[in-house]
């Protein structure tokens, strides 16, 4: 069993309380590893280390190219050990072997590489449009790191979320304290071990798993932290905004979603049907970007639902560690009960359960919680199952008569993280994509994002954008510098105003 201590100031240390916790393997319920549990005191130590590295350490003053070089060295080491990280992600977070090896780990590494390279060529200085009133001056804008970043990430994609938070923060010269989720801390701690082998100065990256009300609160309330980046649930996002208001920290949030997926009548169903299941069932739907509401044209509804059901029933659900598994377990019993509650609610409110809706107990390890890929038909967009994020393998199919109705219903949600359109005619799909109130919209695709492109939410799905130059700017303060051109006192504008 893997065991990890806290990573603070370049050292691996025990929690002040001595507390440790076993993190369960979602496939079996057996322990996947043991980590030290940081408390408020440990978090304060981590902030002290990060503050020292930001105020006195070499990192912020290094050239972006040198920071990038150190990060690319880490990328090479992480790439060499990608299969080990995939193994950890499978054991700790229940990513199927195929998902962690083919997708989540190598994809996450690519975010690290791209953002490390982007940081080296990013324009930290910007021109300002000449503006001669009331006097001429030389002027420009410089981008500077905030200082210390606090980041908190959820349990669903632990390694990828760490790789979305760390690179943009540190390549721009900040230091960071990362709190991974206690359910799935192992890949972040293994990442700390790799970073400790590099030239990264102590205190630039600190990783402290801990409980939200103690360690998490200590991180987001501390006045020595300048910015907080969070991915997780909407209500925790609100809580963090309030807790971070003491010293008016900059806050960026990536929160919930209820992605609308609009199937047009000219869609290539051979791609759109499996694509819609990929949108819903990847990682058993435990993904905020999931497309969980499928809008199907009334004329094709019967054909679409029949095909969806046939394909969903062909999926093999089993241990994440089994190469044959298309889908793995859900996180734990709490998660299972929540999914099951919504399946009950859906039936109570009149939706038609087309397939799934039960726990799987045959052919799977006993201690894990496995749920059948589930599809509801006859769903009204006003139903509970169409409005709340279930965070499980449950697809709601909603009939539409006109494309206008589909767009209206698609946008009738408090969320706005993702959306999608399937059509053979891209210009037609594009016109609809432009009307969806969502931060990321796919045409004939789902889930795939680029480290060069912005990702984030409209409405209650969040604040700010990650990745690309938009993402780097989230970790940079903006400074305007103005140099007077006049050389004599009587040329000065203010000389006349104040009569000096």
């Amino acid at each position: 069993m893997r065991e990890f201590k806290l990573f603070i100031g370049g050292e691996f240390v025990d929690a002040a309380s001595g507390e440790t916790i076993e993190t369960p393997n979602p496939s079996t319920g057996e322990p996947a590893g043991r980590v030290a549990v940081g408390g408020a005191e440990d978090m304060q130590r981590a902030i002290t280390a990060a503050r020292k590295a930001a105020d006195e350490g070499p990192w912020p003053g290094m050239s972006p190219q040198e920071r990038s070089r150190i990060m690319l060295d880490a990328f090479a080491r992480l790439s060499e050990r990608a299969s080990e990280f995939a193994g950890i992600e499978t054991e700790d977070a229940g990513h199927t072997v195929r998902m962690s090896n083919l997708f989540t780990v190598p994809y996450a590494n690519e975010f690290w590489r791209y953002l490390a390279e982007l940081g080296a060529r990013f324009p930290y200085t910007e021109k300002v449009e000449p503006y001669g009133f009331p006097t001429e001056s030389w002027e420009w804008v410089e981008r500077e790191p905030y200082g210390v970043v606090g980041a908190i990430i959820p349990w669903n994609l632990p390694y990828m979320m760490a790789m979305w938070k760390l690179p943009p923060a540190i390549v721009t010269g900040n230091t960071i304290v990362l709190k991974p989720a206690l359910e799935t801390p192992l890949s972040a701690m293994a990442l700390a071990e790799v970073l400790a082998e590099t030239d990264l100065p102590p205190g630039v990256v600190n990783i402290v798993p801990g409980h939200g009300p103690t360690a998490g609160e200590a991180l987001v309330t501390d006045d020595r932290v300048d910015k907080v980046a969070f991915t997780g649930s909407t209500e925790v996002g609100r809580r963090i905004m309030q807790l971070a208001s003491g010293n008016l920290k900059h806050v960026s949030l990536e929160l919930g979603g209820k992605g609308p997926n609009i199937l047009l009548d000219d869609a290539d169903l051979d791609i759109a049907i499996p694509g819609s299941l990929w949108a819903t069932y990847m990682h058993q739907g435990q993904f905020c970007t999931s497309g969980t509401r499928l809008f199907a044209p009334a004329a094709l509804y019967d054909d679409v639902t029949a095909r969806l059901v046939e394909l969903a029933e062909s999926l093999h659900v089993g241990s994440a560690e089994d190469f044959a598994s298309d889908m793995g377990p859900v996180l734990n019993k709490t998660q299972f009960d929540t999914i099951d509650r919504y399946v009950q609610v859906g039936q109570d409110e009149g939706a038609k359960l087309l397939t799934g809706g039960h726990r799987i107990t045959q052919g799977v390890p006993e201690g894990g919680f496995y749920y059948e890929p589930t599809i509801f038909g006859d769903v009204d967009n006003a139903m509970v199952i169409a409005q709340e994020e279930i965070f499980g393998p449950v697809l709601s199919v909603i009939r539409y008569e006109s494309v206008e109705d589909a767009i209206r219903m698609a946008n009738d949600t408090v969320y706005g993280l993702t959306g999608g359109v399937w059509s053979r005619e891209v210009p037609r799909a594009l016109a609809i994509a432009r009307r969806l109130k969502a931060g990321s919209v796919w045409i004939n695709d789902w889930h795939l994002l680029s480290p060069a492109a912005p990702h984030g939410g409209y409405k209650q799905s969040g604040l700010g954008r990650e990745h690309g130059p938009w993402g780097l700017n989230q970790y940079l303060e903006t400074k305007y510098i103005r140099v007077a051109q006049e050389t004599t006192k009587d040329q000065r504008f203010w000389f006349q105003v104040l009569g000096l």
Partner: protein, 108 residues
């Protein structure tokens, strides 16, 4: 929307109170990894201008955001608690190794 609570959920709220947390507020939060779940916060957490009171647990008011309360109309939910779980959230009971959950009335 009407929210009630199991006795063990009420006991868990009292235990958070006994740990020294004051001015408790419960709110049904939504989205991402917690799905829709109860969040117990302290120091008079302000759930937002749209929040409405939908019940109470051990004397602590439970709020829901307006859209969520309207979604359930007259329907009910029960606050329960899962014991002995690794649950990372800002909700205060989680540091005691438990997590508040929602159940349907009469469905255990």
């Amino acid at each position: 929307m009407r929210v009630t609570a199991t006795q063990r959920a009420e006991a868990a709220v009292r235990e958070v109170e006994a740990s020294g947390r004051t001015d408790l507020v419960m709110v049904l939060g939504t989205g991402c990894c917690d799905s829709t779940a109860p969040f117990l916060y302290d120091r008079g957490y302000y759930p937002g201008p749209d929040a409405v009171a939908v019940g109470d647990v051990a004397g602590v008011t439970v709020f829901a955001h307006g859209w969520l309360a309207r979604l359930y109309a007259d329907g009910g939910l029960v606050v329960d608690v899962d014991e002995g779980v690794v649950a990372d959230s800002f909700s205060l009971e989680t540091e005691q190794g438990r997590r508040f959950t929602l159940r349907l009335p009469g469905r255990g």
